[in-house]
Structure formats: C-alpha cells, structure tokens
Symmetry: C2
Subunit: 383 residues, 2 copies
Amino acid sequence: MPTLKKYLFTPGPAPVPPEVLLEMARPVIHHRTPEFSKTLDEARARLKPLFGTAQEVLLLASSGTGAMEAAVVNLLAPDEHAVFVNGGKFGERWGKLLTTYGMVPHEVKVEWGRAVRPEQVEDALKQHPEARTMLVQASETSTCAVHPIPAIGEIAKRRGVMLIVDGITSVGVFEQKMDAWGIDALVTGSQKALMLPPGLGMIALSPRAWDKAKSVKTPRFYFDLNRELKAQRDEHTTAWTAAVSLIFGLNKSLELIHAEGLDRVYARHALMAQATREAGLALGLGLIAPETPAPSVTGLLAPNGIDTGKVVKHMRDQLGVSVQGGQDQMKGKLVRIGHMGDVSPFDMLIAVSALEMALKFSGMELRMGAGVAAVQARIGAGV
Amino acid sequence: MPTLKKYLFTPGPAPVPPEVLLEMARPVIHHRTPEFSKTLDEARARLKPLFGTAQEVLLLASSGTGAMEAAVVNLLAPDEHAVFVNGGKFGERWGKLLTTYGMVPHEVKVEWGRAVRPEQVEDALKQHPEARTMLVQASETSTCAVHPIPAIGEIAKRRGVMLIVDGITSVGVFEQKMDAWGIDALVTGSQKALMLPPGLGMIALSPRAWDKAKSVKTPRFYFDLNRELKAQRDEHTTAWTAAVSLIFGLNKSLELIHAEGLDRVYARHALMAQATREAGLALGLGLIAPETPAPSVTGLLAPNGIDTGKVVKHMRDQLGVSVQGGQDQMKGKLVRIGHMGDVSPFDMLIAVSALEMALKFSGMELRMGAGVAAVQARIGAGV
C-alpha cells in the first residue's frame, strides 16, 4: 500500500481549513490593544447568528467542558435542584458537574441513541418542582442523537424553568434559535463546526440568566462570567489572557462560514449526514439513532461479532482515515463518523470507502462499493 | 514615516518563532491517538528540566490564571488558612483566588518593586501557625521584581509548610529548581518564555502536594488535577479535549529551547534584562525594582510629568513597538519592556530606540542614543 493522506472524520476535533491554520500562524499581538479588540468584537458579533441570539457571546480560553462548567457554576447555587437529561456521555457530564459543585441533580435517563421525549422532561419537572433549571444536549455526540430543544424550550418557558443547552456539536451544524426557543445558556467549543483547533469555549446567556448569574454565590474565578461580560462587552478584551491565535482563527473561520452562508452550511451538514446514514444502511449496518439522527456525527452499528474497535483502528492505522468507536456500553459496537465543519459531501466517499474496507478486513460480509454508491446517489439527489 | 514592522516586547504574550507558528498550522489530529500521545509525552518530558523537577508536568487548556486556580482548588480546602505574598497584581490574584474559594488568606504586603524579605515570610508563618500553605510569585510581572524562592523554600521546608509558586514569567526565563528548592506546586503559562500563543497552562506538583490533592475536598471539575494526572501520565492523553495545536507548538518550542541549551537561554534573558536596565539608567530613568530586577521584564520609571501611558501608546501606534505601561498605582509612571522567549539582545536596540523617541515626543529631555549605546555596550561586554 502506498502512503495515504490522512483524513479526520472524528466527532471532534474536526478538520481546520488551511486559511484558518495560516491565520492562526500570524504573529501574536497583545490582548489589550485596539487591534485585538477589533478582532474580538468582530468574532463575537459573527457568532451571534450561529447561536440565534441577540445576546453577548463570550469566549473562554478552555475546551467545551470548561464552558459547560461556566454555565453550571454561574447559574446554579449549591443545594439547588436541577433536572438534567442523561442520554449519553455528555448528558452524564452535566450530572457530574452538578454533583461536583454541590447541586442536587435529578436525572432523566434516556436510552442511548434516543431523543428525550418532551413528556419525560415535563414529568421530571412536575416531579421535582423545586428544580428551577434544566440541562440538556442539543446534540449528544456520544450517541449521535439530537434532543428536541424547541419542544423542551416550550416546556421550560411555560414552567418558568431556566434552560441550559450544550451546543458543542450543534452550533454551526444546524440552526440554533437560542432566543426564540427560550434557551437561557448555550455553550459550544471551537473544535467542531467552527473549524478550529480545540482550546476555545463559548457561551451566551439570556437576560434572565444574567440576572441569576449576578446573585448566584457558587465560587468561581477563572470561569466568572460576570467578569468576562464586563471585560468583553465593555472593555473589548478578555478578563484573563486571551487565546489570541485561536481568536484570530475563529474570526477567519466565521468569515468563511458567513461567506458560504449559514443556510448552505446547514444544508451541507444535513446532506453529509443523510448520505452517511444511507451508506450505512446499504452496507447492512444499523443506525444507533434512527429516529433523531444528528447532522454532526453519524453512528453506525456493526453486526454481532464485528468489533468496531478493530474497524476504527484499521481505518486509522492502515488507511489513514480517523473516525471513532463507541464509548462505554457502545464500545466495540459503534462506529461514529463525524462530518462537521470543513468537510464536504464528497469527502464521505472516502470515509465510507475506508469503512467498507475495514469492515471487510474485520470479517464482515458485505457488498463492497454499496456504501460508496449510496453516498454518490445522495449527493446527486440532494437533501 | 514609512510603514514600520511591528515588534512585541510586552510582558506577555511574547513573540512566537515562525517554526512554532508553522508547527501549529499542521492539520489537527484527534487527541486520543498514538500520534497525539507521542507529542504530549514528549512535550511533558521536555518541560521537566525547565521546572527543575522529576515530577509530572501537566498541561491544561487554559491561560496561566487557570493553572493558578488549579493549584488553589486542588491543594487548599475551604476554611483553610494560607499566607500569600502580595507584591503586585499577581500576588493580589493569589489573594482573590483564596478568598473566592473560601480559604482564609493572610497577606504579606510588599511594596511594589521590592522582593519579599525571607524574614517577612517567616514572621507571617509564625504569626499564623494555622496556615500550612504559602503562595508567592517567582517573578511578579506587574512590578518586574523577583522574590527569593530558594530562601522561601528553605523556610517552608523547615516549617513543613506547602509552597505554591507562580512561575508564569520565570519558567524558561531563569533557572527553576522546583525539587531542590522545595516547591510543592509550580505553575506557568504558554505565552511567555515558552514562545507560544496564550491558551496552555502548566502545573507540576510535589509528591506531598499530590497526597494532599487526594484528600482536599474543594469542588473542582475542569481543573481536577487527579483526573488530569491519570489521563496524562497513565493514558497519555488529556482528561478534556486537548488544545492539540498549542501542544504541537509547545513540543516544537521546547525542541528549540533545548537545542539552544537551557544555560544559554537563561544567559540570554539575563543579558537582555541587564542591557535594558542600563539603557534606562543611561536615559535618566529609574528602575522600579533596582535590587531584585526580573530577567523577564524590565520596569523603567519615567520622571514626574511624563505620562508613560502616552509613551506606550506612541511607541505602539506611531512606531510599531509594543511594550506595556504600569497597572493600578503604577499607571502612567512605569514602562514595562518584556524580553522573554524568542527575543535576542540585539532586539533591545529596537525597544530602547523606540522608547527614547517616545520619551522625547512626550516632552522628556534626554540625550538621544544614550540608551541604544548602553544596550550595544552591554551586548559587547556580555553578562
């Protein structure tokens, strides 16, 4: 086998366009200068349409988990009750964060690959009326499923409950209407649809979340959003030293995203996801999230006897194509193919082709080329 | 005036070498792969000599302040007493962190520009025997002074007190002997002598600090060092998504640093600092830290009537040379010239030349060229 170029189709980090990589290679500047302020302001403004908000979007020098922590420690007090949806690893993370900081979490457990049903949320809030906050993923990366945020937002609005949403694999992938859906905190990270390396977290709060953040006494310093709001909105810099190069890159990637047009960006993600699902079905694989599949990452289930750990390793080490397996209960059973950011529908030909080869190598009987043909057909037909 | 190239002589961020910028522009890879593990392990091993430790150095996706927070929340419990040295903005930050997380801080106040005297530390520890931890800066960036860490380490050892040191502008600038000096936690950040953009924090703990971190109950999640130790030492990855590109860059910058040789790196910083101080004196400026000046950043005091805010602005906006003014009580009085990382003694000719021009523009009477001549003489003479 000749040397093969490497391809990144993991559920994050996602590929970074060369324009963005080179923008980040610009000489570093100081973070308390008019030049930096201009870039920071521009990037923050360009994020608003992706969040679907008129509110301030703040940048944090952290991974997405840091932004999740910021939401919890700024919006919930110790001993406060909260309902959270646990439909996978990242839902579970909300629970761990709440427990760590002394809140009282009430879990809505959802089978992996399923979306939470709005009635489940409503029931949990009825059962725990002392919970005035709920936390959920817009897209649960570990199970490749989306949760129905608009419906949950309706319930939260009706019951006057604060809604915190992890948008790490939804912002920039499909439309988010933070303000219209009644989301009180929406967080994301840089290394997914925003086409950047990891290292930047982002968060926006609703006016009532800002009110609450003023009174909540949970200790926080690095992730103190009141301090960041003052710094970023009023002083046009960050409270702590800004991740200058990543912010250069963010501004460039947002320029590219808006040049493509948000509608087209979202349509592209939808097409890639649909093509990948259809390829999986054509190969005789199952879908982990057949009813509510995420446009960010597609989860394909291998038949019994095929270890997807080996499939993923073969794809990466022998074919140069990085995807990911399943976590926890899905270890060895699931292949997750990320299609976020700087990825094009034609790239799915590569991902699916390598998948076919690795499945065959792992002993699965399949019709080689069936997945690739499905991708091609879907690209031809459109969404 | 023709267009002028821009120069960065701030006390951080410091300039990043093109080799490092380009290394960070490599395509992103996933952070749970053998390829990433190799880079992470290598970078962490290459950091040890800069810390002067045989212990694990952990990387965090945060600014240096995040690493300071990690030290506090992992090593101190709420209601625990601690002595901290406040000799400037960053000493003050230790106090704010302790207060935020419910500890009982006892301040050793030091005049700006002075080093804490070991007796002051000893007295404070005698006066507050309930304090079993003390926190200090190795180099206080806001006042351009260094504190006597070896002597403080002796006292801490003798009294069995845990010693936490902010090495943000000392690691990579001058020799740090974490293990030999009895430092229990040493933190730093990426954007100073490590020649990287901001966005990576680093921390190493002594064996007894690790013991304490196991029992301390202060809530922490994103900055949970036990979790990071397990991930980085045992699993060769990070607990949360790694700042992959910055870690690529770190490994490259450490390669450059070790190729130059640590002794030569430290001698270069010492020479730049001495040249800059002598230039200031030749121009009739004062030194804010005459007795214990930092090798990382030099603080020069302007005569009465000269507003250094204007000097700094003129240097940046008219001459393309970025330095910084003073903070708080030193606002308008101080010029801080950073000389960390990818800076050479000859570059000080530029910094000092621009300073002379801006001082003259601001109305100071001075002999133009006297500072530049002092830099040249010092380079000729060596340290």
